[in-house]
């Protein structure tokens, strides 16, 4: 065997070996799509994330005052600038420092159901999302990652919605979800939905911020913050639409965002949740922020001229103790930015 032949044989063996190795890896990893049915257990608690230091719970360690004033359940701010509204509402809730500790990994989940211009109110206002990214970074966040699982191609959705450009300009990063970002999680309190593949980042982040936009929705009535969490669900989400009004509550028993910011600068009042016509958009110039999804959604219904009890899933959430939907019983701070 001369050297040329030896090289050829060696190359051939290497190629075959690599292919075999890759195939083996692929089998082990099941091409990322591993959903073995074994579910992971994780817990989240609503409200600000637990403090790293054992100081006064829920109060920023840097705050000099010994007794901070009581914080509202909801902060509702109106004004001509979506970013300023968002900032004012978060400040009224105690500032981003209450939710984001220095060095925290922050995950923001806007609604990017599909690619539409921001004016059509199909996706969360990009300026509002960018403002949240900026505030989190100001509070010392190590990273701010923004994602959704759009119903179509993620790249077209991220781009056309304007959210990608706004987030990147603000210093955050967008993330396109792959199979490897999902894992099946146990939903211990679930009645109809007992486990589902969910984005692991939501559970691994120090702060999870849910940032929906208010829209009408054929099946749900309205899509607000609770329905927005469908964007962290993997798998075949069409199945969630059967016995939907309980399943969406089941999910909310597990995934409880630390901060909920309902963008209602523009809301979609007809043909939701995808819309596509300016005539179906109402400019309400409002932001509703809170720490509990049913409470935020309860206020959100009033923007559409509805009652919280008009939505079946909100009624379920209230009855099952996921959150308060009685607006009379909530401390609501309203203002103008």
């Amino acid at each position: 065997m001369d050297r040329r032949d030896f090289c050829r044989v060696a190359l051939g063996c290497t190629v075959i070996g690599c292919a075999g190795g890759l195939a083996g890896c692929a089998r082990l990893l099941e091409w990322s799509a591993s959903d073995t049915g074994a579910a992971r257990v994780a817990t989240m608690t609503a409200g600000p994330p637990p403090s790293a230091e054992p100081t006064a719970a829920g109060v920023p360690t840097s705050t000099p005052e010994p007794t901070p004033p009581p914080l509202p359940d909801l902060a509702v701010y109106r004004g001509d600038d979506p970013a300023a509204n968002t900032r004012a509402a978060v400040v009224a809730l105690g500032g981003m420092e209450r939710f984001v500790r220095p060095g925290a990994r922050v995950v923001v989940k806007p609604n990017i159901i599909t690619g539409r211009d921001p004016e059509l109110a199909t996706t969360t206002n990009p300026q509002a999302v960018a403002e949240v990214v900026r505030m989190a970074l100001e509070a010392g966040a190590a990273s701010v990652v923004v994602f959704d699982r759009p119903t179509g191609d993620p790249r077209t959705s991220y781009t056309v919605s304007g959210i990608q450009a706004a987030v990147e300009a603000a210093g955050g990063s967008m993330k396109t979800l792959s199979d490897r970002n999902f894992e099946r999680f146990e939903i211990p309190a679930g009645r109809e939905l007992t486990s589902w593949p969910l984005v692991t980042d939501v559970f691994e982040a120090d702060t999870f911020i849910n940032m929906p936009i208010g829209k009408t929705h054929g099946l749900a009535g309205l899509t607000l913050s609770m329905k927005n969490l469908m964007g962290i669900m993997g798998g075949a989400r069409g199945e969630v639409h059967q016995r939907f009004h309980q399943k969406i509550v089941d999910l909310a028993t597990l995934v409880q965002p630390h901060l909920v910011i309902l963008d209602a600068y523009r809301i979609m009042i007809r043909n939701g949740p995808t819309g596509g016509k300016l005539e179906d958009v109402a400019t309400t110039k409002t932001v509703v922020a809170g720490t509990n999804m049913p409470s935020v959604d309860a206020y959100g219904t009033t923007l559409f001229g509805m009652q919280p009890t008009d939505l079946e899933y909100l009624r379920n959430a209230g009855e099952q103790g996921v959150g308060g939907i009685d607006l009379e019983a909530l401390v609501i701070q309203e203002g103008t930015a």
Binding site: W31, R116, D153, T156, T159, T176, L219, E239, H241, N271
Partner: protein, 504 residues
């Protein structure tokens, strides 16, 4: 080989190939949403075989000047395209066994010399009867198709696997996510790309390469329709390989190294319909008798009357029987063409079966047609709404089509272009058949005034329960047939809402 003879551009032939093949693949890699201003389809638009077919079918576009140039170039340099530019030619050449010379007998070689005549006549016959099915063998279309259905899905899965492996190291996770996001929609897709009959495409490509075992570059020599067309022009060439008869010692070295069997008549003459001016012969010539010059001594293959008539008959039969195919009349109800597609007969005549539209499609909904449009429609694009749907924000397939078989539409125009119409199968639709809530189709219908509406029906189930169920209905005049409903319908396997094609 004398060193003195190794002068001229042919010395850099390998470099030409090493530029053009990566360029071809680079342009195809960039063929993703959103298309920039780079003209990505240059190879296919400049392909004279495709351009000739388009022109004969009445489609002319300004970029076709490139094809005219390409068609005239053989007059001066023979089939240099095949040896210097063609990316398929480069692959076939590199896959050839190193052993020079033909494995065929002298008789077989003479018989195969007729092949280009048959290829051209059959192509002409199909062109005459307005069937573009012969373009399935165009080398540039073949390579585009192969890369689209095999190479890019392979790259997608390999990148995915690399990401999965990197993800095992927690420190690499952020970087992996960043790379995945950057490549998303470019090389990695939300769902791994799949194409119908990818295995068949692999087989065809492997077959082309395997023909090398019979004779090096058998495909380029005898079967390639583009090579045959360029060779037709090469016959008229005024400049080609020349041999100094005084210097020639008739050693036969030139004939042995010629990759395209172009050396004829005791080595003095050239078949200018074959010579690619690689000048391997000149490099092999011990007496430096070979050069490029004007008025080459030609030895062209002239088909006998019998051969010509046989080829013409084959061409007419092929054209006639594709043109009168059953699938053209009895259109499959689920055959839905992409937005901007011309009427079926025009599409079948114009489509190059290259698959560039499938490459650019962001949702993978564009699939090669296998049976719905007959044998003739093999690999023409159709919508498979269980794989994806026509993205509301995309109108790129028409822009990359090299022949206008899919006409370019502005985005606003595409959004009102009707591809088909959705029908609900109420025997399987969840709210109709199972009395459960669903409305996924209504929710995702992208038409601004939704083409799917719902009624709240009071129903009594067979068990006697009284319920109010929201049930979907399609508003026919609003439906554009984008298929997002069919794609996302949670009913397993066959969707309970299906888009059917409409006749214009």
């Amino acid at each position: 080989m004398s060193e003195a003879s190794r002068r001229g551009l042919h010395v850099y032939r390998r470099w030409f190939q090493l530029v053009f093949l990566p360029l071809f693949l680079a342009l195809l890699t960039l063929t993703v949403w959103p298309l920039g201003s780079v003209f990505l389809g240059a190879f296919l638009v400049g392909d004279p075989l495709i351009a000739l077919n388009s022109a004969m079918n009445g489609v002319l576009r300004p970029e076709m000047w490139l094809a005219v140039v390409m068609l005239l170039v053989p007059l001066a340099v023979g089939r240099a395209f095949c040896g210097y530019v063609c990316p398929m030619g480069a692959i076939v050449e590199w896959a050839s066994p190193k052993k020079r010379g033909s494995g065929l007998s002298e008789r077989a070689r003479e018989r195969w010399r007729r092949a280009p005549v048959f290829v051209l006549l059959v192509s002409a016959g199909m062109l005459l009867f307005a069937s573009g099915a012969f373009l399935v063998l165009d080398p540039l279309a073949t390579l585009t198709r192969t890369a689209t259905t095999l190479l890019f899905p392979f790259a997608d899965r390999m990148l995915r696997l690399a990401g999965d492996l990197a993800y095992l190291v927690p420190a690499l996770r952020d970087a992996t996510d960043a790379v995945t996001t950057t490549l998303s929609g470019r090389l990695i897709y939300a769902e791994p790309r799949v194409y119908a009959l990818a295995f068949g495409v692999l087989g065809a490509f492997a077959g082309i390469l395997a023909l090398n075992l019979a004779e090096p570059r058998f495909w380029c020599r005898h079967l390639c329709p583009l090579g045959a067309l360029l060779g037709l022009m090469g016959r008229l060439g005024f400049r080609n390989r020349t041999v100094d008869a005084e210097a020639c010692i008739s050693c036969g070295a030139c004939e042995r190294v010629c990759p395209l069997d172009a050396v004829r008549d005791e080595y003095l003459a050239t078949d200018t319909s074959r010579c690619q001016l690689c000048l391997l012969c000149a490099d092999a010539c011990p007496t430096d008798a070979i050069a490029i010059g004007t008025r080459p001594q030609k030895s062209l293959y002239v088909p006998s009357r019998r051969t010509f008539l046989a080829g013409a008959a084959a061409g007419l039969l092929a054209g006639f029987f594709t043109f009168t195919g059953h699938a053209r009349r009895a259109l499959d109800p689920h055959l839905v063409r992409p937005p901007g597609a011309r009427p079926e007969d025009d599409l079948l005549a114009l489509c190059t079966r290259c698959g560039q539209c499938m490459k650019v499609c962001p949702t993978n909904v564009l699939q090669p047609s296998l049976s719905k449009s007959g044998v003739e429609g093999f690999f023409t694009p159709e919508m498979d709404y269980r794989i994806g749907s026509c993205d509301w924000t995309c109108a790129e397939c028409g822009k990359v089509c090299p022949t206008g078989a899919i006409m370019p539409l502005a985005l606003a125009e595409k959004r009102t272009t009707v591809l088909g119409r959705a029908y609900i199968d109420t025997t399987r639709c969840i709210p109709w058949a199972d009395y459960e809530s669903c409305l996924v189709c209504q929710e995702l219908c992208p038409v601004p005034e939704k083409a799917i509406v719902f009624t709240e029906d009071a129903v009594t189930t067979p068990e006697g329960a009284d319920l109010v169920v929201k049930r979907p209905h399609v508003v026919a005049e609003r439906c554009i047939g984008c298929g997002v409903c069919e794609w996302h319908c949670p009913v397993p396997r066959e969707s309970a809402i299906r888009v059917r094609g409409l006749d214009a």
